[in-house]
């Protein structure tokens, strides 16, 4: 294991962990429920580490990408239903990320939002065309590390540490009305969905195959998924904690994604503001790349096309056309004028619904000794895998009723 590669891998995972949905829901959860929803991020991150590690291990040992498995394990019909569901949910997520990029650039430059959406798509697509896979992932992940300013801001504003740490324990805050309880439940589902977005494991496992992972990379995979995702989650938790401390007492929702940047501006002024906005920009841009490529991976793997960024774009033409089409469709959605916050709501809603169907085949293969040999799931991975499968299935069943009953967590 090369220590430099490992460190870079961890840092990339940290910087690439947060996306627009986590930004929005962490800030809202903190202002509405104080520190009481930190545990939802912790739980989601453990789940993400479990499934991420599993998908990386399957990629390294069985050399099977998620959507290839899906077709074989779920059969053509159910596999196709899952593929369509995943494509729609990830496309909406991609549109939310593109809209998020344009909004953040708007706070930085003041230029018109539609123009910035077009410019963002051109720049991100150019980086995907030019850079090899490893450097696409690293560029955005490492630049996203500027979001560490949120963690430093939490220390600077002196939160009540005992309460903050206590938030990591699953709880239902006392004194909530039935409406607030429904809102609280909606936020649990939304946070789990935002942390466990299915595109993350498609991208991660496809990346493992792109980079030619083998048994020698299993330790790197495990450390990246536990340490990298764990530290990345701390950034989302920092946004929640700063929001609980700074926004909650002032009745701030927040209703606009740019408000989160005030968490760094309040203690550190303009430098904090710029670091927060730039960190958010690169983290969201990284997520736009991941969602776009995940859809191209999904459709190419499902239909058995040549895929991957290890090849030149013209050597995998259908894969290349697929990611260009996804990016253009995401841009079209943004240009219709739909609100970014609404896109974020729809993204988490659709994603949690398809989540159980994408994790089931992955878990079945990771349990299968004929494919995975001595690297098949042991009792801990098996137990955690099934536990999280039950959790995401319950969340998927509850998602639509909770969304309707709470008007998307606002009523």
């Amino acid at each position: 294991m090369n220590p430099l590669e490992l460190t870079l891998g961890i840092m990339t995972a940290v910087g690439g962990f947060v996306d627009i949905s986590e930004l929005v829901f962490a800030a809202k959860a903190g202002s509405m429920f104080g520190y009481a929803l930190i545990w939802a991020f912790v739980l989601g991150t453990i789940g993400m580490s479990v499934f991420g590690e599993m998908s990386g291990r399957v990629a390294a040992i069985a050399k099977q990408p998620v959507f290839n498995l899906m077709r074989h394990r779920l059969g053509l019909k159910l596999g196709l239903v899952t593929l369509i569901g995943s494509l729609i949910s990830t496309l909406i997520t991609c549109a939310a990320e593109v809209g998020g990029m344009a909004l953040i650039l708007n706070y930085l430059t003041g230029l018109p939002y539609p123009l910035l959406a077009v410019a963002s798509v051109i720049v991100v697509s150019a980086s995907m065309w030019v850079l090899p896979f490893k450097w696409i992932e690293r560029t955005y992940g490492l630049l996203g590390l500027m979001m560490i300013v949120f963690a430093v801001a939490v220390v600077a504003i002196h939160p009540p540490w005992a309460k903050l740490i206590g938030g990591a324990v699953p709880q239902v805050p006392s004194g909530l009305s039935s409406k607030e309880l429904l809102n609280y439940s909606y936020f649990i589902v939304a946070i789990l969905s935002a942390v466990l977005f299915p595109y993350e494991s498609y991208f991660y496992s496809s990346g493992g195959i792109e980079e030619g992972w083998g048994a020698k990379d299993l330790l790197t995979n495990r450390v990246t998924c536990t340490v990298g995702f764990g530290l990345g989650s701390l950034l989302a938790i920092s946004i929640l904690a700063a929001s609980a401390q700074l926004f909650g007492p002032l009745n701030v929702g927040p209703e606009i994604p740019g408000t989160s940047a005030l968490e760094a501006a309040i203690p550190f002024g303009r430098v904090g503001l710029m670091l927060a906005l730039l960190g958010m920009l690169f983290a969201v841009a990284g997520a736009a790349v991941e969602t776009c490529m995940s859809n191209a991976y999904a459709v190419s793997q499902f239909f058995g096309w040549e895929w991957g960024r290890h090849a030149k774009p013209w050597e995998a033409p259908r894969f290349t056309l697929a990611w260009i089409a996804v990016m253009l469709l995401a841009l079209l959605i943004v240009l219709t004028g739909v609100d970014v916050m609404s896109l974020v709501e729809y993204a988490v809603l659709f994603s949690i619904i398809v989540l159980p169907l994408t994790y089931l085949p992955l878990m079945l293969l990771a349990n299968d000794k004929s494919y995975m040999r001595e690297h098949a799931n042991k009792w801990l991975a098996k137990g955690l895998g099934w536990l999280f499968f039950v959790i995401v299935t319950c969340a998927a069943i509850a998602a639509i009723p909770l969304y309707l009953l709470t008007s998307g967590g606002s009523g």
Partner: protein, 113 residues
């Protein structure tokens, strides 16, 4: 269990009046408070001019959307939202927080009803 959920979902989808306006009142309350925070931090020189301008514009646009979505445009809370919209860009944070506090009162009373 599903048949129990159905009337609730229908109720949520069909309700009108102050109850149905609650999400918009809550949104407007938060926006007024966000605007106050922006102006407060701006007065301390902690924000860039571009950020201040674009955030104020976003707040106004969202407030207008909330105001238009209300099912009872003649209600007290609708007038309060209109009053927020009439504030100048550089309104004093205390003024904006007073609007937010009044909207919060409406919100709380509707929630407890």
């Amino acid at each position: 269990m599903r048949w129990l959920l159905l009337p609730l979902l229908l109720l949520a989808a069909c309700s009108k009046g102050p109850e149905a306006d609650l999400p918009y009142i809550s949104q407007a309350r938060s926006l007024a408070a966000e605007w106050a925070l922006i102006n407060e931090q701006a007065s301390q020189g902690k924000l860039t001019p571009t950020y201040i301008e674009t955030m104020r514009k976003s707040v106004r646009e969202q407030l207008q959307t909330s105001a238009k979505a209300l099912s009872e445009p003649q209600s007290g809370y609708a007038k309060e939202i209109q009053a927020v919209l009439k504030e100048p860009d550089g309104a004093r944070p205390e003024e904006l927080r007073a609007h937010a506090a009044r909207l919060k009162q409406v919100e709380d009373s509707l929630e407890s009803a």
